[in-house]
Every structure is written in structure tokens, then in C-alpha cells.
Symmetry: C2
Subunit: 484 residues, 2 copies
């Protein structure tokens, strides 16, 4: 059985693997384009520059409520020698935004007019030509560049496009991603499924699909394929003939006897890398099959997400000519020492919260199979491959997964867990959603130590003193003498 | 005619206006809820806490490729006295993720096994119970809280929900927003419209609608209503009977003779404020009609957006129990002095770019009618109502509208404009989309001064020296002696 096992090629660093990826799949000079209505173009990327067809405004208009006049007719007006203007002859009532009559070139504010009977108004100061007038083309001049190619449309842009007389735009087609979940043990998430021991609910095609959509792509989830290289090969070939831009084989990317992703890629195309020195996500692999990038993505949920975010997402953004947006980083203090392997880049999921002057980072479970280690995380500490870990003495940078104001407003609980903390955390969210609860299950003594070290606000503890049958008090006196 | 004009009530500060808004429309304890499939739940907000129905994994499985064993059977194994285990009796080949056989409780890594002929393997060290085993419930334990109420679903959450056996979730209904564009001068954006002088293309219902969607709401754009208070009233009443959560009357919110928003609100409900001490967006008004918030939103595009972002967006987020996310702020150096009125909060649109050690902020056109002042902006400087403006000597904070890495990579051009700069900016985007061009039209001499002050990289200039017919040289010698 062991003889069938794969072996990893030389593992690549993240940096080297990205180089291999982009050398083999460089930016396409002329990406495929499609035409969409401006109203449907938000978040799409222009494939061509857009030039205005109309000027905006396309006429001279009043910038104030008042009367439109020919400025010449106001010259000489003075507090001590006001001028009279005849309504609908020398002066025309006008509201902001209205076109000024053809024989006028300025507007006098309504507040500066004395109204007289019998169709006359009186003014006490003159206006210069174009005073209080919004001139034609003030915002947009026909033929001007509205947006260069590769610009990503925002809601604001809709206003400029419509104002410039543009109703349709050419945009880069959304990269199409085919996601093929594989594995004899996985079952599709369906209501009333009766999940049996040994079975795992398939989540990766949905999670990675939604991440692909967030990055600007579209996705199709293939039906689940059991561990059968011929069926996987057929699905990959079908994806290529259906012109998918990227194909992901989920599961079977490692080196086990049922890991067929490498075999399929080597048979149908060429393997570019197998294994990256990162954790989670090490057993990711990349191949090129008929010029289409085919990834083998590890099946553990967090591994799949890390592999996607490190390699697939940058490729999607590259097709869309978009830059990766640097995550927001803040300086944090690790709640405890965390060892990490030299030569491996580790993505450590942490819960963040301000305790006193520091933002404290409490590490979550390390297992790559724990999706909750990511859904509960408010930050990621990237431990580079030349570090042996992080220590509680040295602040490090964390990438924020949640807005900073939520992190600042987090109650940090450490120690022994109780389900009432979950219920409390929900009730707090009902009352005030600006407050979060971070609960870290590190045992009663761990909780007291967290208080001592200043890395938690509250500790759950139920330590029995067998000498007198009391709980906690003697431990607190002993370990937290300053807090009594 | 003037007699029909409205007058502003006492204008409110932004802070006071928000207080009035939230006092009259407080957070709803029990927001309306609907059930959606988990796969459609990204960006929705849970109306109830979600507890897991299944444990994940729901069985003990191998955490490594290797052989599953009963740990007891390995005790005593040593480099100098290896133990032999019989395959399919004492030891079972297993891949990562597979269920361990019922009579085993540990896994030995494949790398630590010596394979023997005739169905035996040899091991040189023992394993403790549960070593290399992923225990049932490691990720999720049935009945545990997965997410508290008011939690916003991300792609990651889909993985935890499916793994916990959850296929449908109860979420807060999207706030429904009715947008009623008004004004005799506006026309709907349609292909081949023949726009006439005096007409303006209606953009606000689309721009604000897309902003409402970004905030988590849904919108309906009403057809355009001319300046007729009865028709506006009818549309508002129809919106209320169709259970819209928020109604926006666009245009006619000021105090002109054709400004009917206030009149309609006073007739059908009660006016809560009219006018806010901010620029753009001053003529915003709020009323309550049958307990529904009805806003009068000014018609100028930037005014409409500022009014929406200051008041409507916070209300949408409040209905969804979500916090406003603080914008990312950076310290910038104004390229020149900008005066601002005391008593008014000004939202100044600026172009940002790094020149030498400073990030320089070049102000864009002030006019509230210029949507391009927002689409071209990379930042907003909020000049508070107790400041008389900003000066070139003092750095101030700007809210970022674009990612910081784009701002850092901006070529700042100032001076006389030429259309080739537009074309160049598009060609640069084709070659490398990480680079932006910020072009600021401040005339030839302004450009030279910008270089002198260190607030631009490149200046466009065509200054004629009439004494000898040469261009630029003598001006540069005179004004930029250090640069020759």
C-alpha cells in the first residue's frame, strides 16, 4: 500500500511559489471583455478607458437661488444709490440648478435683493460676469477621460458615468473558477442528511466559491467526486473545454495513497510545484493543463482557505488587473509564547482585545481542520519562516480580520469555560453590538495567570482548596496577592 | 413668488442631527427576520443566535497518514527492541481524515514505520493514547454557540455553519429604501436620450441605491416626479403603505420656491430637522411620517452622497445592528491653504500622493455639483466646524477612499493641463495598475510653485518669456534656482 504513496517535490516558499505561478500565468495584456449596463457595473473593472460623451452640466445654471441678470446692468449699484431692475425684463427669478436665460450671465442671491411692488427689485451692489453661475462643463467636459482602463467601478462612479452620457461600459469578464471537491468521505451539505461516522460535510467548494466571488470572480461547484483519478481527470478536462480560467481540485493534494491530484495533473499536463513551506496549507500544488492553472487544494478547511488566499485570490486579482489590498496591521502583545517551526511560515489565528494599554493576542487552536479557529479569530499573526515563534515579551504585527473599533471594544475572558459565557456573549450582542466577547478556554489556573499577566479582563475559575473545601479564594490570595 | 419660499428652521450640527435621528428612530429590539439558505447568507446579519446541531468531526480520525493502533500495544517499543505489529490485526493503514478503527486510539506516522514483508510493520517508539488523532468535536461540539445574534456572516462562517449541521439561518430583513427623485429638470438616464439645455441626467437614485446596497439594504428607484407637492405626497404615502423602512425624497430639500420636501413632510407627518451645518449637504431634512423616517436629500450629487453617508447609512446599519466602521485615517500635508467657514463642517475632497517624505493632499474643486470631485478623490479631509480652514504648514488627518498602497504609488502632477496627461494616465494603468496618476489643474505658474514647495513630482508649464520668445526656461531659473 505504501508503495503507491506520492512524495512531495522540493517544497517552495510562498514567495517562490508565487513567482512560479505568475511566470507560468502572467498578466494577460488583452483580457476578455464584455459589455454591461452602468447600473450593473459596480465592482466590475473597466477593460477600456471611458471618455465622456456629454458635458455636465450642459448649460449655464444658477448656483444660488436669486435673480439672473446681465452683470453689466448691475454696475454702479451701491448702498446709497441702489439700482432698480424690472422683473422678467432685466431680472429673472431663478432657483439653484435652473438654466439662466440667454441674455443673462450672473445671479444675485435672493438675500441681496429688496423686493419692490409693481414688478421691480432693488439691488445695492453689482455682480461680476459669471458670479453665482455654474458654468457649462464645470463637472465634466465632453471627450475628457472619465476613468482609465483597469479602474474598478464604485457607486460614486455611476454618477460620473451617467452624467457623462455613458450608459454601457466594457468590463473585464469575471474569472470563472471551477471547484471540484473530491473524497470518498465527504457528503454534500443538504437538509436532513444523516451523517455517519467517517463522513465529513463538504464545505470547501462553498467557502472558496464565496471567497472567489468577493475577489471579483464567479464559481461553479462541481458535484463531489470520490477518490478516483479517472473521474477527477474527466472533471478537469471538462472544466478546460468549458473555458474555466482556474480549476481547483479540493482534497487529495497531499502525498497519501488516495491523493490523486498530483497524478491527474502529471498525466494531463505538467506539475509546477507541490508543497509550500507554510502552515496551514502546506500540501497545495499547482499544475498547468492546456495553459489552464489547476490547483490541488488541501481539504482541511483552514488549509484550503490559506491556500486559496495565498495563491488563487492573487491570480483572480491579477486577471482583473487589480492590486492586492494590504491588510490593516496593528501591533499586538502575544498572551503567551508560541513556538513555530523554522523554515515554515505560520498563519496563527488569534483573538484580539485591549487589556489596559496593550492589545493582547490570544492564540486559537492550531489545527488546520478547525474552521472555528478562523471564524472566532479577529487577527492573523504571520510568523515568518526565519522565526522560531513569538514570545510574550515582544510585540508583533497582526493583520486585522475585524474592524479595529470592535477589537478595542472586546471583553477578554480567559480560564475555565462555561456555556453561560456563550449565552452572555449573545445577550451582550443583543444589547450593544459594539461590544464583543473573546472567550479563551485555558483552564482555571490559566485564567488566574492571565489576570496576573494583564492579558485578560475576566477569568473563569473553579479551583477547589482541599484543605478547607473552599473555592478559588486561597488560590487568588496566593497567586494574585495584589488584587485582594 | 418670493412669498412662497421656505425658510430653514434652526440648522443642526451633524452630532445633534444624529441624536434627533436616533431618538426618533431608535434601534428596534426585535427586527423583522427572514430565513435564508446558508449558501445565500454571506453579508447578512443573524437575527437569532445559532447553536451547532452536529459535532465536527463526528468521529475520531487520523491526524496524520500512518497506521492506527491501540496505544497500549506499542508500549515498550524502542530503537534497540522494536515491536512488530500485524497489519489489519494490530495496525491499520490509514490516511489523514479517515475514521480510526473502533479498537484503536492512536496513529503512528508513516515516516516512523519500518515496513516488513508478510503483513507486518516494525515500530521503534510507543505512542500515547490519542496521539496523532483528531478527536470527535475538536472543531465544533453539538449544542455549542456558533455565532451570537447580530453577527454578520462571512464566507468563512459558511464552513462553520455547514460543519455544525446548519443549512438555514434566520437573518434580519434587508432594510427597504424607496428613493424618489424629484425635479422638473431631471431626466432618467437612458440610451439615446437627447438631453436639452436646462436638463440634468438623474443619477442620485442609482448612486444612493448602490450605496444602500453596500450598507446591507435594498432599494427601489421611484420614477421621476416633477416639482408637484401632491404627486410627491402620493409617492411618500405609497412608500409607507408598501412598508419601506426609509424613504428618500431627492431634490427640493432646500428653501427655494420649488422645494416641496419640507411641505410634504409637514403636511403628512412632522419635521424633525431642516438643514445641517455641513458642506456639502447642508439642505438635508428629516421628517417622521407614520413612524417612517422620510429624508429630504439635496439634489447636487456630492451633497446627496454626503447627506446619505452622514444620516441614511448610519440608520441602515442601525436597523441591521451593525457598527459603522471607522474609516482608515492617515496624516497628510495640505498642498495649499484652504479657508473654511466657522460653524460649518466641511468635507473636502483631496487627491493624495507621496512626494518625498510627506503625503501631500491636493484639494479638488469645491462645488457640490461636481461628482468628479469625489470620483477623483483618494481622501476626504473633514474640516470641523470650529476650524477656519487648513493651512499648508500643519498636517491634518484624511479619511482614505482608496487603499494606502495605491496612494503611496501615485505620480502627482500639477500645473497646466493637457489631454495627453489623461492618455498617459490610461497607458500607465495598462502597463502597471499599481501606479496612479493624480493630475491637478492649477495653471503653469501654480505647477512651478508646487515643485518649489515640494508638493508635486511633475509640473505642466507653458510660460512664454516675451523678451526672447522662449518658453519656461527663464521662469524656472528665476523661481526654481536650486533645480537647474
Amino acid at each position: 500500500m505504501n508503495k503507491e504513496r506520492n512524495i512531495f517535490l522540493e517544497k517552495q516558499t510562498i514567495k517562490k511559489a508565487l513567482e512560479i505561478l505568475f511566470n507560468n500565468f502572467p498578466v494577460n495584456k488583452k483580457p476578455e471583455s464584455e459589455t454591461v449596463a452602468v447600473v450593473d457595473s459596480v465592482k466590475r473593472v473597466l477593460s477600456k478607458p471611458v471618455f465622456a460623451k456629454l458635458s455636465s452640466p450642459c448649460f449655464h445654471s444658477a448656483a444660488m437661488d436669486g435673480i439672473a441678470v446681465l452683470s453689466k446692468s448691475t454696475f454702479g449699484a451701491h448702498e446709497f444709490s441702489p439700482k432698480q431692475l424690472e422683473i422678467d425684463k432685466d431680472a429673472f427669478y431663478i432657483n439653484t440648478g435652473q438654466i439662466i436665460p440667454g441674455n443673462t450671465n450672473a445671479v444675485i442671491m435672493i438675500e441681496h435683493i429688496n423686493e419692490k411692488d409693481s414688478g421691480f427689485v432693488e439691488i445695492e451692489s453689482p455682480v461680476v460676469p459669471w458670479q453665482n453661475v455654474r458654468k457649462m462643463g464645470e463637472d465634466i467636459v465632453a471627450t475628457q477621460l472619465l476613468f482609465p482602463r483597469n479602474h474598478k467601478i464604485t457607486p460614486y462612479c455611476i454618477g460620473a458615468l451617467f452624467s457623462g452620457g455613458i450608459y454601457f461600459v466594457d468590463v473585464i469578464k469575471k474569472p470563472k473558477i471551477l471547484i471540484i471537491p473530491t473524497g470518498r468521505e465527504i457528503v454534500a451539505p443538504e437538509e436532513n442528511i444523516n451523517i455517519k461516522p467517517g463522513q465529513i460535510i463538504e464545505t470547501n467548494s462553498y467557502v472558496l466559491g464565496k471567497l472567489a466571488e468577493s475577489a471579483g470572480g464567479s464559481y461553479t461547484g462541481n458535484s463531489i467526486i470520490e477518490d478516483d483519478p479517472e473521474k477527477i481527470e474527466k472533471a478537469v478536462k471538462s472544466g478546460i473545454s468549458n473555458k474555466y480560467d482556474i480549476i481547483l481540485i479540493i482534497g487529495g493534494s497531499s502525498a497519501g495513497s488516495k491523493d490523486f491530484a498530483k497524478q491527474v495533473i502529471e498525466k494531463t499536463g505538467s506539475l509546477l510545484f507541490h508543497g509550500v513551506t507554510m502552515m496551514p496549507g502546506k500540501p497545495v500544488l499547482l499544475g498547468s493543463v492546456k495553459d489552464t492553472p489547476v490547483f490541488g487544494i488541501p481539504g482541511y478547511q483552514v488549509s484550503a482557505i490559506v491556500a486559496f488566499e495565498q495563491f488563487v485570490q492573487p491570480l483572480v486579482l491579477n486577471i482583473l488587473k487589480q492590486q492586492r489590498i494590504d491588510p490593516v496591521q496593528i501591533k499586538v502583545h502575544p498572551a503567551r509564547k508560541i513556538p513555530s517551526k523554522i523554515g515554515v511560515t505560520e498563519f496563527l489565528r488569534v483573538k484580539l482585545g485591549r487589556v489596559g494599554k496593550k492589545i493582547v493576542a490570544t492564540p486559537l487552536k492550531k489545527s488546520a481542520g478547525c474552521i472555528t479557529s478562523l471564524t472566532e479569530a479577529s487577527g492573523i499573526i504571520k510568523i515568518t519562516n526565519n522565526a522560531e515563534g513569538i514570545s510574550a515579551d515582544t510585540p508583533v504585527f497582526a493583520n486585522l480580520l475585524k474592524p479595529l473599533n470592535l477589537v478595542e471594544n472586546t471583553i477578554v475572558i480567559a480560564g475555565s469555560h462555561d456555556n453561560t459565557i456563550d449565552l452572555l456573549s449573545d445577550l451582550i450582542k443583543e444589547k450593544d453590538n459594539s461590544i464583543s466577547v473573546s472567550s479563551n478556554h485555558i483552564g482555571s489556573m490559566g485564567g488566574l495567570m492571565a489576570i496576573k499577566k494583564g492579558v485578560a479582563h475576566i477569568a473563569g475559575s473553579h479551583l477547589l482548596d482541599t484543605s478547607n473545601g473552599s473555592y478559588n479564594i486561597s488560590y487568588i490570595k496566593k497567586y494574585l496577592p495584589d488584587i485582594n
